[in-house]
């Protein structure tokens, strides 16, 4: 286990550094922050002064070295936009995103397992067709569209939920539903497939012949065997939740990393863009390691070495 962890951490460091380097140069392709922070008719002196103040007057390679040196020391610089350390802003925003993602993913797995199992046990019958059709539909609905339609229906027309924000518990419902949309759709199909395979396998047939109750058969024996593909896809979806968090941030103004990244891009705040990508990168890497570990625990045949 330890050599595995060491190898994973090392390769992750390389990945995160690589991503940071790419983001550093991509961010600078978006143009100079000065043109955004200074008024349209500002004089050249004002531009020069601004660039000097934030170090943008330095050659790109000097800026890059300064950035790398800082990144190694976990110092991503000051945010021009928020006027506080960029890493502090990114870490503070990651918390709510992780909470939201955990709730959405947890609920997605529960809903998918229930629906997928029903579909698998009612194979080719009406319930299966209905669940398959609806899961394929949810998997293909664009998050952004669902989010806006959700606001229109549940907040504006029915007045059941607030449109946005995170002030009340009910404000979480629409963002969570939006984030659940694609994972539930995909996971339901994965659960269905894995369960069908598991339910038709020899040992389940054997158990059935021995008179086990159908519910116990489905949820204890078959599901345990079907867990591996579910864990693997759920892990994948968990990483993808960060993308979803950007949509959720934009539409519902949920104060997470998505909102921060969108704001940082709009405000050409390179320091915050870099720090946010770093924090997201670390989160995804950790998540992948956790998924691998769960994978090994769920199936002792998988050896991590």
């Amino acid at each position: 286990m330890l050599p595995f962890l060491r190898r994973r951490v090392l390769s992750s460091v390389v990945t995160v550094l690589g991503v940071l380097v790419i983001v550093f140069f991509l961010a600078r392709l978006t143009g100079s922050p000065a043109s955004l922070y200074l008024p349209e008719g500002a004089s050249q002196e004002r531009y020069d002064q601004f660039n000097r103040q934030y170090g943008f007057d330095q050659p790109l390679w000097v800026q890059f070295l300064t950035f790398l040196k800082g990144a190694v020391q976990l110092d991503f610089g000051e945010s021009i936009w928020q006027q506080r350390p960029a890493l502090q802003a990114a870490v503070a925003a990651m918390g709510p995103t992780l909470e939201l993602s955990a709730v959405a993913l947890g609920l997605s797995i529960v809903v998918a397992v229930v629906l997928g199992s029903i579909a698998a046990t009612h194979r080719f019958r009406a319930a299966d067709r209905l669940i398959t059709l609806s899961s394929l539909t949810t998997a293909s609905i664009p998050d952004f569209w669902f989010a806006l339609v959700g606001v229109l229906i549940f907040a504006v027309n029915l007045r059941m939920l607030p449109t946005s924000g995170d002030a009340t518990a009910s404000a979480w419902i629409l963002p969570v539903l939006t984030l659940m949309l694609s994972p539930v759709g995909v996971l339901t199909q994965v659960v269905r497939g894995a369960m069908i395979e598991s339910l038709t396998s020899g040992y389940v047939q054997n158990a059935r012949a021995r008179g086990f109750a159908p519910a116990r058969l489905t949820y204890r024996h078959a599901l345990r065997n079907a867990a591996l593909p579910i864990i693997s896809v759920a892990g994948d979806k968990a990483a993808g939740m960060v993308n979803g968090a950007i949509i959720v941030g934009t539409v519902f103004a949920f104060p997470g990393i998505g909102t921060l990244i969108v704001g940082a891009v709009l405000n050409r705040d390179f320091a915050v863009i870099q720090a946010s990508v770093f924090v997201v990168g670390i989160a995804v890497v950790l998540l992948n390691i956790v998924v691998d570990l769960i994978y090994a625990i769920a199936d002792p045949r998988v050896r991590i070495s």
């Binding site: 978006t30 143009g31 100079s32 043109s35 955004l36 922070y37 200074l38 008024p39 349209e40 008719g41 500002a42 004089s43 002196e45 004002r46 002064q49 601004f50 103040q53 936009w81 928020q82 006027q83 506080r84 802003a89 925003a93 229930v114 629906l115 029903i118 319930a127 209905l130 806006l148 606001v151 229109l152 907040a155 504006v156 007045r159 059941m160 939920l161 607030p162 449109t163 946005s164 924000g165 995170d166 002030a167 009340t168 518990a169 009910s170 404000a171 979480w172 419902i173 934009t250 539409v251 519902f252 103004a253 104060p255 909102t259 921060l260 969108v262 704001g263 709009l266 405000n267 050409r268």
Partner: protein, 513 residues
């Protein structure tokens, strides 16, 4: 079926119980009586709350007129300069102005407002090291002297006839504001005091009970940042927000809750006069004749614009009353192009119509329609849509020497009432955004710059008319307007400054809750 119904019922229970425990939307528990808090949904979080950064509309909307006030302000109805913290002012000599300030005013932190405090605050804004946004409104250095508690003397090296107007851009902050760094907790003399801000989430203000003027009805203000215009509109419809700023046309309703207001912004095109085919005035005039702006604006800018003939609105002193720009006449455009071609002008040169997606909502369709008009008269035009930074590089001088000929689509606002905030930039030979090299215009602008009152207005009007008739580098398309939505029971009458100064003291409650 039973199982499915069970799942459906279960989901319903989860949703309803979560709603119940959350207390529903923002409408629940609103206090009764006429005095209550208001919530304003704005699109973008202010980049800075420092009173010296209110040149930017996203910053100004929260601070200006609410937390801070200036010595003078612009009357939104007619663009004239009126007193705010200053009772009166007079020009002692061409380079000296004396302002008489209100007495008995205090800042929200208890510090007294007097000439020394005003001088300190304005001097702070002028410090180049602080990099204040509003510094650009003050092209000259100023020396501020407190003659006595209520008399402030301002001197400039060169005469500045519009100094009282410029002073309106200096939001006065408390002397306790740090002099060498920006502040994120502004303190002014306004009707509301800053309470707190939560980055990425909200800004809170509360009523300033020691305010020198009429007490506002609203007891407190919460600003929420909602990027999606339909969400902002939804918030006003449900009462989650009292005011939803800058909503989209498709979210506007026909009832009296949608307010339309002109924010002195004009959408116009600027030709690159030093490149073929625009180096010939006939081609530039042909562009104006080729565009059917009335049809385009009516069809595509419904509720967001009206066709216009000048690059400034009628509240700006350089506006020429009654002037009519070339009217849509494709035959005339074709004949002008043919005439130019006969004289050897390269009228078939391909050029770019440079725009940016965020120029204004729906700009892409408007630009496409304009391009179609230009192609119909035989001009060889291509649309180039750039991000703001790349667009700015083609807008601002110096232009790249190998640059293709362009027409740049521009949306420019002038809320000051004075043409000096537009014309020198777009028409003078050394203007940052100008492609015009006209000694006549340069002369008129230079004379206007040092003139005051009627004479100044007349000179700017002459420059405007000369540009239109003899240069024709710019083609005005539409005077733009914005929409905001009010919640039920809220009354606010937007004016031409509402885009940069949303005074919560002007918000009234029409119902008790």
């Amino acid at each position: 079926m039973t199982r499915k119904s069970l799942i459906a019922a279960g989901l319903a229970v989860v949703v309803v119980s979560a709603t119940a425990c959350g207390g529903g939307g923002g409408t629940a528990g609103a206090p009764t009586g006429s005095d209550r808090p208001v919530t304003v949904a704005i699109a973008v979080e202010p980049v800075s709350l420092d009173p010296c950064d209110t040149q930017d509309a996203t910053n100004a909307i929260v601070v200006r007129g609410n937390v801070t006030e200036s010595l003078t302000r612009i009357d939104p109805e007619n663009g004239t300069v009126v007193g705010l913290l200053a009772e009166s002012w007079e020009q002692k000599d061409p380079t000296t102005w004396v302002f008489t300030l209100k007495s008995g005013v205090t800042f929200q932190d208890g510090a007294p407002f007097d000439a020394t405090a005003a001088a300190t605050s304005i001097t702070r804004l002028l410090d180049p090291e602080l990099n204040c946004q509003n510094l650009d409104q003050f092209p000259q250095t100023m020396t501020l002297t407190a003659v006595d508690a209520t008399t402030l003397q301002v001197t400039t090296p060169e005469p500045d006839p519009i100094l009282p107007l410029r002073i309106s851009y200096a939001d006065i902050s408390s002397p306790n504001t740090p002099a060498d760094s920006k502040t994120s907790s502004p303190i002014g003399t306004g009707p509301f005091s800053f309470v707190s801000s939560s980055q990425g989430q909200s800004i809170q203000l509360k009523r300033n009970d020691s305010y020198w003027g009429d007490a506002p009805e609203a007891t407190a203000v919460t600003y929420l940042f909602r990027a999606e215009p339909s969400v902002r509109a939804g918030m006003a419809r449900t009462g989650e927000a009292s005011i939803a700023s800058a909503i989209a046309v498709q979210d506007a309703t026909d009832d009296d809750r949608t307010r339309e207001y002109n924010d002195n912004r004009v959408f116009f095109l600027r030709t690159q006069t030093d490149r073929a085919p625009f180096d010939d005035i006939r081609v530039r005039q042909a562009v104006a004749y080729a565009i059917d702006k009335n049809t385009i604006v009516q069809a595509l800018m419904e509720r967001s614009g009206t066709p216009t003939d000048q690059i400034i609105t009628s509240t700006v002193n350089g506006f020429v009353p009654g002037y009519t720009a070339p009217v849509f006449d494709p035959a005339k455009a074709k004949s002008l192009i043919a005439e130019a071609a006969a004289d050897g002008v390269a009228v078939t040169t391909e050029f770019d119509l440079v725009t940016r997606p965020d120029l204004f909502p729906g700009a892409d369709e408007v630009i496409q329609a304009i391009v179609q008009n230009l192609q119909q008269v035989g001009l060889n035009v291509k649309i180039v849509s750039l991000d703001t930074d790349a667009w700015l590089q083609l807008l601002r001088a110096p232009f790249p020497p190998d640059q293709r000929p362009t027409i740049v689509a521009i949306s420019h606002d002038n809320v000051s009432g004075d043409a000096s905030f537009t014309f020198p930039k777009y028409m003078a030979s050394d203007g940052t955004n100008s492609t015009i090299r006209s000694p006549e215009i340069d002369d008129l602008l230079a004379r206007a710059d040092v003139a005051g009152g009627e004479e100044r207005a007349a000179l700017y009007q002459q420059a405007n008319a000369f540009e239109q008739q003899e240069v024709a580098a710019m083609i005005p398309i539409a005077s733009q307007s914005k929409l905001m939505m009010l919640a039920e029971g809220i009354e606010y009458q937007p004016n031409s400054l509402s885009g940069v100064e949303l005074r919560i003291a002007d918000v009234h409650f029409t119902t008790d809750n």
